[in-house]
Subunit: 143 residues, 2 copies
Amino acid sequence: MEYALAQASAAAERGEVPVGAVVVDSAGSLVAASGNRVEELNDPTAHAEMLAIRKAAGMSGSLRLVGYSLYVTLEPCAMCAQAISLARIKRVYFGASDEKSGAVENGVRLYNDPSCHHIPEVYGGINAAKAKVLLRDFFRVRR
Amino acid sequence: MEYALAQASAAAERGEVPVGAVVVDSAGSLVAASGNRVEELNDPTAHAEMLAIRKAAGMSGSLRLVGYSLYVTLEPCAMCAQAISLARIKRVYFGASDEKSGAVENGVRLYNDPSCHHIPEVYGGINAAKAKVLLRDFFRVRR
């Protein structure tokens, strides 16, 4: 999660909402990492998790990241939560809860829905305070 | 929708689940089109809608596709439905319902949830029979 936080911090320096994500394989080795790059790529889907999952699938050569874990500094939205499920990621560790746009423990609670065909293990609140400070400081300057 | 169906048909010929999507601007001009390219790109997020939205944002130079419409041959999943919302697409026209993985009129019904901050107009069942035949024929050969 420390490395995901570093990705989030780097995103803030680029003027992006500070969210970072890291994917590790079943042996715990780093496979992919990314910060949010929505503005840089002019791509509304370029959330940190999406970029990290796409990189990890490319690195692994497989569509299914069986046994992999994803660390992300903010609770995933519905897009990212569904992408995690599609990629068959085994465990999700997230930092801050996102009461506004989260879809794991907030909003549609995607993994609680019977339409979700692969449900990862979820561990929330990991280093949440640091993730929140990054987000708060970012929006304090801008709003 | 005819052009989205052509994208779906081309996807089937590439060995992909036959889904196609098209994005048009507020004047009705074609901006982007794609079929599903999950296998080709080895990317579990490469659904037709995602690729079409990413292309359309690139073409328009804006993160927000205000006034745009998306046509897709199958009801979007939660990932794609949320991406449509993030991109601020105004209208979604879809073909076949997806009882298994859809997230618009099935599953989590994302646009009915108060956590969804941009809700497009949705028109389902457009040329649904043709979309269903493509999917049925594709899976009949493979299963």
